[in-house]
Symmetry: C3
Subunit: 645 residues, 3 copies
């Protein structure tokens, strides 16, 4: 099966006379799949119950005639103005009680009955109209779920969710430690979302609300999915995850419900940092998909985060795309096909820029389409072998975004990114695992500042090490239980035994200190007592900073401070984790193919041999700056990604 | 006719026994005009319909007896507390839905019927009482219009304004690109002001709301003006514009409605920067007045913007005042006569400071009054010749303050200020012109990052160059149409032909780069293709950065990045725009007079000859540091300010 | 009487099986007093009118059996969730009109009738139940009063307060200068708290609202106190003041109403800065207590303010505690006994840390308990002699936090801290005095940027100097009257005569300048004219910067700018204020004892002799780094603290 190639196509933004020209351009570019209708609700249903499908019929017809598939959207991410006017109670309310208005996107409360009903109606109508349409390839429900609401509908749904979770108020009061600050609830009706309050909020309430928001949105997704599955069995139903600093939903849970994991990826860094972030995002997506193929649903031809929108440098569009394909994406999709003239995102880059097809960007898009035709999509089943797992848990991330922690500089995302980046630079392709996953197949497991660890996960990690595994734990991991309650008796309560240490005090750092090994340490330090472990590096005052502990048949390392990349790499090396890569030359073995991408500005010895699928020629001895090659794989892999079994 | 001299006089803030002393002090200072009653509504109408004019009668009587004229205010900028209590629906609502309360000033919704009615009532009562009063010299409506409101009254008025502007919803949907993010309106009632919403707002909606606010306030002004014109024909009616970073209203439109353009000017810089800003503000005011005289209604004896309030340095009060007079101000007015003891602006400097008349400031005020007696007011008609025009359009400024632009560092005001400053330093007195104005008389036209240019304006600029003009366009000009829709096919869509270039990509800069000429470039760069133009300077990568294009009988320059002052000056020099001035020694030729102001701390050769009107002595060969002279003009001017015809 | 020792004990946060263990640990630590029930309302009254005292009975019983006293709290600082649900009108409203919700603490309006009634009910029920309880040692009303509310209940109470204060609207309009910006009130109903408004608010309104908030909370306190006094005569009633940068209430006024002044102290600095702040806070507390004993009700074993929570360094807990005891605290109390597992402040350090009793912190707590047993509590009556007074007035501080001042860098707290710190380093123990206090016994009086001074206070200061006193006034003192109205005719209006200067202009500084003496000056400068005073140091331009004036039998110094610590110290030295201390070695003479604390990291000559009460051994000749000794006092004191008479 070929790779999908394309992007969001929004014909409703353009005069109808341009549509055929657009389809012709798509064919020139090698486009095979477009996402249509993500933000078309107000056009499809101009007023309540009155539908206008003519334009969509014509647009889909043109695409079908050209052999281009359609990822057809259920447009629930942006209800029309008439809906907001008719149902002000279904508008989002902020934690300060401000009822937002339409005029942007995502101005709904996912718990509002009117919104749920309207969502189901438009989904059913679309499903009934387009089932069997020759272009229909996939359903795309909503867009980047993740907008919380604090209104009374949300409050009622939150309470219902809490009743299901806790059963009794006593259990909730205990889990939330409501004894602190006189917050004990005597009736379910007293509970609200974490709205604006006087001073620090309750961290367990804040965490449960984020869990609830994720579950509530998932319920909304499942409602649409079930309608679509009923109407069009066999057509996969997906939704596009937003990859961002705010961790909108619990992606492990969601990935059990979608037919295809799909992500939107916009790097916040540029150059090498963008390449690192692309690999990170792609490995996350594949891990969420259980090690199996997934789809890059959105990326951009430029950099859109940060204070400046800039085009990607020549070649970057292709390199980032191939990073995703190498790691299991079934295609390369962009937001959006054609850069908008107007509207809030008129400066978001497109496959066809404002300048039109006579442009470097479009020429690169065409060349990329040409290349992708020659690379097969990843077959079903495990995409690649990944021997090292990084623990990923959005609940723990949410908890560390909570109020009142001992340092505002503890950052789960950057700790996970560091772990991944250091491996990537050494040519080690990592996967991500939930703390409760079976880890026995992993050569090593890295735990990056995972504040919150359940009893079950703690037992899982201990069993993994006992069975011979290598565990590398970073500071502020295993501190709290799943209700954000600190585990007592010495930190890190969940991991004291396996690590063979007992931490008596945290001493966050204002500036750097230098360890006896591994270089500078920042952000954090601890008073560590050895209870079986040995000190591998020490703080200036002599206390253990990095420790190693034989436990059962395995070894558990503890890094009680934040190291620089090179220091952390040296810890991993001491733990036996080294790769053979050339920094910046990415090599990924995807089943029977090898992808090699030279992210550097220099020529590099080619790390693979054979015929390059892209050029059809033998892989040369040297990769040019920025060059990518894809060749048949010669070696056979080690143990597969543990998530892919 | 003599120049006016004075300031805001607020007798209601002081015990009545001080009033006579104040009038005597005014006479000592040479005061001829005072603004009275700007914030007196609650004193004039202590409760609804009950008036107390006795104190104002007595205050105006004292002034009339002393031969001091009165700029009598209609006090609508600050409704009394009783009004807010009776009409909470007439209080300002923020975009977040917060209904502001009284307790400051400007707490009204200009669209609220109760406010409009109350405004008209107090205006009529004042007009009827004081028509024919011997002191009545001018009417001063409101104060510094510019406070937007987002309430339902505003929403209804905004919708009515939109119906008038667009006629049909289809036209509005098209202009606003509501196809993006499902914002298509199917009923006028669905439209609101740009209130708090989830994420980026619609830029066209945001721009139209600013246009509406300007027009709605202008309607309020016109209502009061018409009452006053009816009651006191022949007495000019004005309002004072606030000159600030936020561009409150569309001053070109407003200036067609006032009998006298009046501005308030408070420099944000100090020293030489304050002098530059004074010249900028005065040239803007004169341009708005069609090149004819206008009035500096407010300035201060100290610097009030920024983190510190400080007195102006010795001599600065006079120098800034004469800058305005040289550029056409009919007087020199201050806020306020006497610094307040209490209230929110008790630390705003006055003509009489807290220390009282025995003070440096008051001595300078007296000396300035003495000097102004000897300088005639500018006669009606064109004030001076200004051969170089800078394009000024507040609509374009508003658009560039909108959401989601490719760089947050694009700043129209600073671009316009740079253009003006560079000319000022070379002794070139510039004017400002709207993009649609007749520019044929201009030696050159500078276009400073004018994002939004209409088709009509684009044709105007092309015709200007074709006819032999010199156009210097800075980056990010001519990008969007009047609905903020990007012009496609290559930037800058509105000016590609006249500039002979096609810009394929924008590449905002994070740091500086050095061009082959004109020095360092910051903020912005572009991929420029030459289509008839030639490259005058190039980026480090070799692409054109500054270009020149012969077009018809004229020449169009394009500066695709932000240059430093000296680099921009060198571009202007290459375009033939050089002056003969000594930096910091300002020379302005106002009809038959020459004003020379030495802003430097050094002695400078006197640039004029003849008798100094201020001293009555011959102008010495050398200007002392800070010295100002005014002499009869010997030469004859070139072409007049094109706006003055 | 022995010193109290203990902290907040919150048994309701822990399983009941841990309570006995906790009490045993307390005995090991030498704990004699615990505060119980501060945040227990929702546990004590789970729903309206239904009480659950069983747990508290058992907890107090355990304590009584162990001989540990109880500071029993009236839990009004955090109403239960049921209360908020039943009385939404009693929730706090922000100035923006956001009605806060429960979920933190302090979510009440102190003026809401429902809250006042519920407060009285729970107070009476508690008082009735526990009067005569053997453990009951003290009543602890509320917690850290200081949360303002802007709701309609507050507005009504504010208006009633204003009527009592001003009698007539004319008086209020005059005091508030409502003539500015048309704010004149014609009916009491028009007046509101300073809610969100368009622009700068009225500074007099803002100040009076802060006075009102303080008085309104004091009325709430007095209501509970009166119930408790009625039920348990003889048991002292207190409340714990929060010492913070925002000056919650008027502590001079409050201290007349409490039976025991009690403060919570959390230093924002660390190391030597924390020691300086501890001395500052303790001297304030003693001064509020009229020079008599008081109580340190809360401190922490770590640093909790700022971006990082860190443990105190070894020895600091004891050193800070002894600083307070030396200055008159009747005990050493902490928040809290045991660090919480969950809740918003789970990372607030405790006497028993998360790591448990096997920890450095708990070992220090035990050692401190041991030491405190050997030091007697301060007897009733004056604690110590303090010859130098620093003027302290929270009303003046509030005024300087108001809008629109000439510099945002004027900071009363840091000015007062500098004055205190400079004396502390020289071994001079200072006290604080209200500007209207009798100062005749003071060797010197320091006035740190006291913006607002009443006529009465001005006369008091003049009389003090006339009678032979030494006054050292820092810039921006005596500028305004009690209604924030500037005193005219030259600054500082209230102090011109006694200082012998007239200040014509303020010239806030953007950067430092160097004076002819006393080093660098920052933040502020003035144009000072000498009217009897002589210049002791001058600005670079030659104007007087520091002046001295013989007035009557005394001398008044004026420092018209901000000096560095060493410069200010040299001014004090010139004014005759020097001590004999070794910097960092604190020596405090408390009646018949001398406390010596070596805050430095070096050995220091012991400044006292005799038997160390802590060790029972003779004081060695040298204090080790960080060492504290307490010995009998040999010398006899000078004049006592003037507040202690």
């Amino acid at each position: 099966m070929p790779l999908w190639y394309g992007g969001d196509h929004n014909p409703e933004q353009w005069p109808e006379q341009m549509w055929a020209e657009d389809v012709a351009l798509m064919r020139r570019a090698g486009v095979t799949l477009v996402t249509v209708g993500v933000f078309s609700w107000s056009r499809l249903e101009p007023s309540e119950g009155r539908y206008d499908f003519g334009w969509l019929d014509r647009a889909l017809g043109l695409l079908a005639d050209a052999g281009i598939g359609v990822d057809l959207a259920v447009p629930t991410a942006s209800p029309p103005p008439w809906f907001s006017l008719a149902h002000p109670d279904a508008l989002t309310v902020t934690r300060d009680g401000v009822r937002l208005t339409h005029g942007s996107r995502d101005t709904y409360c996912v718990s509002a009955p009117a919104y749920r009903e309207a969502s189901l109606r438009i989904t059913r109508v679309l499903g009934e109209r387009y089932r069997g349409h020759p272009a229909l390839t996939m359903w795309h429900v909503h867009n980047e779920y993740g907008t919380p609401c604090h209104c009374d509908h949300s409050a009622a749904a939150f309470r219902a969710w809490l009743r299901r979770r806790y059963g009794t108020l006593d259990a909730l009061n205990d889990a939330w430690t409501t004894a602190f600050w006189s917050q004990r609830y005597s009736d379910w009706e007293q509970i609200t979302p974490p709205r604006a309050t006087q001073y620090l909020p309750n961290p367990a309430q804040a965490l449960d609300f984020r869990r609830f928001v994720s579950d509530e949105m998932l319920a909304h997704f499942r409602e649409q999915r079930d309608v679509l599955r009923e109407l069009t069995p066999g057509v996969p139903v997906t939704t596009n995850y937003v990859m961002a600093g705010w961790a909108s939903v619990d992606h492990w849970k969601w990935s059990r419900e979608v037919d295809l994991v799909a992500i939107d990826h916009y790097p916040s860094g540029q150059g090498m940092a963008a390449a690192e972030q692309s690999a990170f995002a792609a490995d996350l997506a594949r891990s969420w998909a259980g090690g199996r193929p997934w789809l890059l649903m959105e990326q951009a031809t430029g950099y859109v985060l940060g204070p400046r929108v800039t085009p990607k440098e020549p070649g970057e569009i292709a390199r980032h795309s191939l990073q995703h394909v190498a790691r299991g994406s079934k295609g390369v999709m962009f937001f959006q096909w054609r850069a908008s003239r107007g509207g809030a995102e008129q400066w978001h880059p497109g496959m066809v820029p404002h300048a039109g097809p006579d442009s470097r960007v479009f020429r690169e898009i065409r060349a990329l389409g040409e290349a992708l035709k020659r690379i097969p999509a990843p077959p079903d089943g495990p995409v690649l072998d990944a021997e090292v797992a990084i623990l990923w848990d959005e609940e723990a991330w949410w908890a560390v975004q909570g109020p009142g922690l001992p340092s505002a500089e503890i950052d789960y995302l950057s700790a996970a990114e560091q772990a991944h980046r250091v491996l990537w630079r050494q040519g080690v392709t990592a996967c991500f695992a939930h703390p409760s996953h079976d880890l026995t197949a992993c050569r090593a497991v890295l735990v990056p500042s995972l504040y919150l660890i359940s009893d079950e996960a703690a037992r899982n990690l201990a069993a993994y090490v006992e069975g011979g595994g290598t565990l590398v734990v970073s500071f502020f991991s295993g501190i709290a239980d799943e209700h954000t309650r600190v585990r007592l008796g010495g930190y890190p309560g969940a991991l004291r035994e396996v690590l063979g240490v007992r931490v008596e005090e945290f001493r966050p750092l204002a500036g750097p200190v230098t360890l006896t090994d591994f270089g500078a340490a920042t952000v954090w330090s601890e008073v560590v007592h050895l209870h079986g472990a040995e000190a591998v590096a020490r703080y200036p005052g002599g206390g253990p900073a990095v420790t190693r502990h034989r436990f059962g048949d395995g070894t558990a390392w503890y890094v009680s401070t934040r190291l620089g990349d090179s220091g952390y790499a040296r810890v991993l090396a001491r733990a036996g984790l080294t790769g053979s890569g050339v920094p910046g030359v990415e090599v990924v073995r995807r089943r029977d193919l090898v992808f090699a991408i030279n992210h550097t500005g220099d020529e590099q010895p080619a790390p693979v041999r054979g015929i390059d699928l892209i050029t059809g020629d033998p892989v040369p001895g040297v990769l040019r700056p920025g060059e990518c090659v894809v060749a048949a794989r010669e070696d056979t892999g080690g143990p597969a990604d543990p998530r892919a079994r």
